[in-house]
């Protein structure tokens, strides 16, 4: 059979023993650096391994995100965990199954064709041979390359089945999170953060804190102040005492009342541009439409504050973290602490849902800095809620200006997207430490200036090239390195704002062309899979092309293929605008190729839709020019149970196609579906997020 192209993870980690191990009798240990973030990856990867190894899933032990054992697969990001991480495990497990069968043939001195492996046993002519996987495995040289040439086993038991989440039960009945770890001699640490970006510590009076019970150490370096206590609430109280004793010099930044649309284009930018096809003569496409859209900064707003545990044993450091990338974090910690990375072990333990680069990595450095003061004792650092809101990187504000022209026949003839965005990719690495504590200690390792250029890694331009057939298309990215707050990866990066803008704009073009939004989209799509999700979502929602506008209640549609390479998703939402705009129902069609775990895919899509509705109708991180002002759940409002819509998700199964990532596939389409439904319900287009009651009133009276 023809060799498959090797996934990046295999390319970087080519040896079979980096992926699978049979040294413990009765189980196959499978190693993956892709970690559980609440998305169900651990279950899906275990399903893949069990299927390919032809073992019961209970005999597969998945070890994920541990620098001591796992292949270096960098981060768990970009909806690529199944596409790349999962497929790497599949390839490796197929190779392992083959290696065992091959060695078994040799041991039994039988022709290969007479050998089969199943359920941990080696079969000869279909009967037990007396050998099991582990007896044979002892004779296999596992230091062999994963070739990618072994045929996958036809899915029978696990792949394509809705296996229940392996991690859910423990979370429903007790432990399950990094926050729950207990270790002998463990101390509790807290870090006193500055009140704002750029604030300098002028004075620290420790007297009150030093008199408190349980105090073990106070460590101060530059603008970093940390405390360790025997018990957790002692540390909380010591933090309060330190806060009362600290005097900060805050930079005077004048409050800027300009909107994002006014502010972002006025900032220094690094520009890149791409154009495909020729712009038509103006007579050939006489109907011109333009519109500008904006999205505010968003908070991760994880349910749990970031948490980490670290322990120094002589010159060795062990860190337990809920980071999305144990290997890059290890690199950044090595630089930040001045340690050799070989002396650092980073171990992933599940945290609450992570939606990108939040405070997880920063908390790991916090714990390590404090643990260095108390060698031999584990230090657990848990952030306070206001720190989580104030210091986790934000999703960047964005402005997207669209310009288009329609030919007389009703086809889009010209398409320009001009984007202003802060950076979306500032995760820690060896080259750029990017850890909060490192930027506060003395000497500091400041956050390096970050910007993006068009190309695969330009998060700000993600999904700015729509999947539609366009004879002309131009994208301009103005990357803004000088935003006054920290921005980094938040689920979809720029994809959410770009799909909100392009799909709102498609509706605006359809309106100008006098076309139905569903028909207009299908008209511009030659990819049958794209057409099918749109037509399916329309059918599910009982879409009416001639629905009246301006009745206060309407449906809207949004579509996207995330990154133009991941899953196809179309969402229809129904909006009711009474006092507040509310999504009452949402219908969705998703094509994720081969769905390893269909219910897992549907669960991810449901969550993506609801989180996006929350972003779209409610969320905006506040910044007063100096401080982040949205520091608790009262100030940073998210969707509540009374505001959550009923959901219908239809999965279009394509077992013959490779699996496609879904974790970030629904957010853009859902946002556009909401905006388009509001536009039809009110006969009024809102182009600035979030679409709140206040925005609607302002637009109505404008």
């Amino acid at each position: 059979m023809a060799e498959r192209q090797l996934p990046w993870s295999i390319h970087e980690n080519p040896s079979l023993d980096q992926w699978v191990d049979f040294s413990q009798h009765g189980v196959a240990r499978v190693f993956s650096a892709k970690v559980e973030l609440g998305q169900g990856i651990v279950t899906a990867v275990a399903q893949i391994a069990a299927e390919e190894l032809r073992l019961p899933i209970s005999q597969v032990v998945l070890i994920s995100g541990d620098t001591r054992y796992c292949p270096n697969e960098s981060y768990t990001v970009g909806s690529m965990s199944i596409e790349i991480g999962g497929m790497s495990v599949r390839m490796a497990c197929a190779e392992a199954r083959h290696a065992i069968a091959e060695q078994a043939a040799h041991l039994l001195q039988a022709e290969q064709a007479r050998i089969a492996v199943d359920g941990g046993l080696v079969l000869l002519d279909g009967k037990p041979s007396g050998l099991d996987y582990w007896q044979v495995a002892a004779h296999v040289d596992w230091k062999r390359p994963v070739t990618g040439a072994i045929a996958f086993t036809p899915p029978q038991k696990y792949i394509g089945r809705s296996v229940p989440r392996l991690d859910l039960l423990s979370k429903l009945a007790g432990n399950g999170f990094i926050h729950d770890l207990e270790m002998p001699g463990m101390l509790h640490g807290r870090v006193l953060r500055p009140p704002s970006y750029g604030a300098r510590l002028e004075l620290l009076d420790r007297t009150r804190a030093e008199a408190l019970p349980g105090l073990v150490s106070i460590w101060c370096s530059g603008d970093f102040v940390g405390v360790c206590c025997e018990r957790e609430y002692q540390a909380v109280k010591a933090l309060e005492a330190l806060r009362a004793g600290a005097r900060w010099l805050e930079s005077e930044t004048a409050q800027d009342n300009r909107s994002w649309k006014e502010l972002l284009p006025s900032l220094r930018s690094i520009d890149s541009e791409a154009e495909v096809g020729a712009r038509p003569a103006s007579a050939a496409a006489p109907r011109r439409v333009s519109a500008a859209y904006s999205k505010p900064p968003l908070a991760h707003a994880s349910m749990a504050p970031s948490c980490a545990i670290a322990r120094f044993d002589e010159d060795r450091l062990t860190v337990w973290t809920h980071s999305q990338g144990v290997f890059p974090l290890r690199d950044a910690l090595a630089v930040g602490l001045g340690l050799k990375r070989e002396r650092i072990a980073v171990i992933h333990v599940q945290g609450a849902g992570v939606y990108g680069h939040n405070g997880a990595d920063d908390a790991a450095l916090d714990a390590a800095l404090l643990a260095r003061q108390v060698p031999g004792r584990p230090v657990r650092v848990q952030w306070m809620r206001d720190d989580e809101f104030a210091w986790s990187p934000l999703g960047s504000p964005m402005v997207v200006k669209m310009e288009g022209a329609i030919a007389p026949a009703g086809q889009i003839a010209e398409w320009t997207a001009e984007i202003w965005s802060g950076p979306h990719g500032r995760r820690p690495s060896r080259g750029a430490v990017n850890l909060l504590g490192a930027s506060h200690i003395d000497p500091p390792i400041p956050f390096p200036e970050a910007y993006e250029m068009l190309g695969a890694f330009a998060g700000g331009a993600r999904n700015s090239e729509p999947a539609y057939d366009l004879p002309h298309r131009r994208v301009v990215l103005h990357s803004l390195p000088g935003l006054p707050f920290r921005t980094s990866s938040l689920r979809t990066l720029g994809g959410y704002a770009n799909v909100f803008a392009t799909e709102s704009f498609i509706d605006e073009l359809a309106l100008a062309a006098g076309a139905d939004p569903v028909e207009f989209r299908v008209r511009h799509l030659s990819d049958p899979r794209a057409r099918q999700v749109i037509e399916t979502a329309a059918r599910l929602s009982d879409w009416q092309a001639d629905a009246e506008r301006g009745t206060g209640r309407a449906k809207g549609i949004g579509f996207c293929r995330y990154k133009n390479t991941a899953a196809y998703v179309a969402v229809v939402t129904e909006i009711e605008v009474r006092t507040e705009p509310q999504v009452t129902r949402a219908w969705c069609a998703v094509d994720a190729g081969l769905a390893i775990n269909p219910d897992g895919v549907i669960n991810q899509i449901e969550g993506g839709i609801v989180q996006s509705i929350s972003w779209t109708l409610k969320e905006e991180a506040g910044f007063d020019g100096c401080r982040v002002t949205t520091r608790n759940w009262d100030a940073y409002r998210i969707l509540r149970f009374s505001e959550a819509p009923e959901l219908t998700v239809e999965l279009i199964q394509r077992p013959e196609c490779p699996p496609l990532g879904v974790g970030e596939a629904a957010q853009g389409p859902a946002a556009a579906a909401v905006a388009n439904a509001v536009a039809r319900a009110l006969d009024l287009r809102i182009r600035d997020l979030p679409i709140t009651r206040e925005r609607i009133i302002a637009a109505t009276t404008a």
């Binding site: 973030l37 609440g38 998305q39 169900g40 809705s162 229940p164 989440r165 991690d167 859910l168 039960l169 979370k171 429903l172 009945a173 007790g174 432990n175 999170f177 926050h179 729950d180 408190l212 019970p213 349980g214 018990r231 957790e232 609430y233 002692q234 109280k237 707003a301 994880s302 349910m303 749990a304 504050p305 599940q350 945290g351 609450a352 849902g353 992570v354 848990q382 306070m384 809620r385 219910d599 669960n603 991810q604 449901e606 969550g607 993506g608 609801v610 989180q611 929350s614 608790n632 759940w633 009262d634 998210i638 969707l639 509540r640 149970f641 009374s642 959550a644 819509p645 009923e646 959901l647």
Partner: protein, 162 residues
Amino acid sequence: MVSTKHILRVNDKRYEVVVDYEDTPLLYVLRNDLGLKGTRFGCGQGNCGACAVLIDGRAQRSCELPVWSVEGKSIMTIEGLGANDQLHPLQQAFVDFQAGQCGYCLSGIIMTAVELVEAGGEPSRPKIVEALERNLCRCGAHARIIGAIEAAWRKRKEGRRG
């Protein structure tokens, strides 16, 4: 500052705990002194519901309750509701519906729902939504969570009748 001793009744067991501060929230005592990690710290401000436990049968936020205030009361945490081998019908319904993604909010939501379901009455989605109005979920599992609670409530009602 004088450390104080408190006697608590948690999941039908008697505990004696010593705290350094009288205002120590019950949450810290449950998690760190009694090892009951199923009750989660979310915000420490009573805004998210991740730390909900039952106090004399009523769902309350343990991050806001000073330990002295719950002396002599009956405290129940998710561990008292059911364990892996013997799940409460609500926990089982959450497994059946795969209601959750990261799962961090779930124990607080389940403890809030226990009060509702145990009170009996006719299963009602509006009542579930009302009961959960002060509970947050960030992953967007709302629809499944509501579905799971409704199913458990229905089952509970049928069980009583039968």
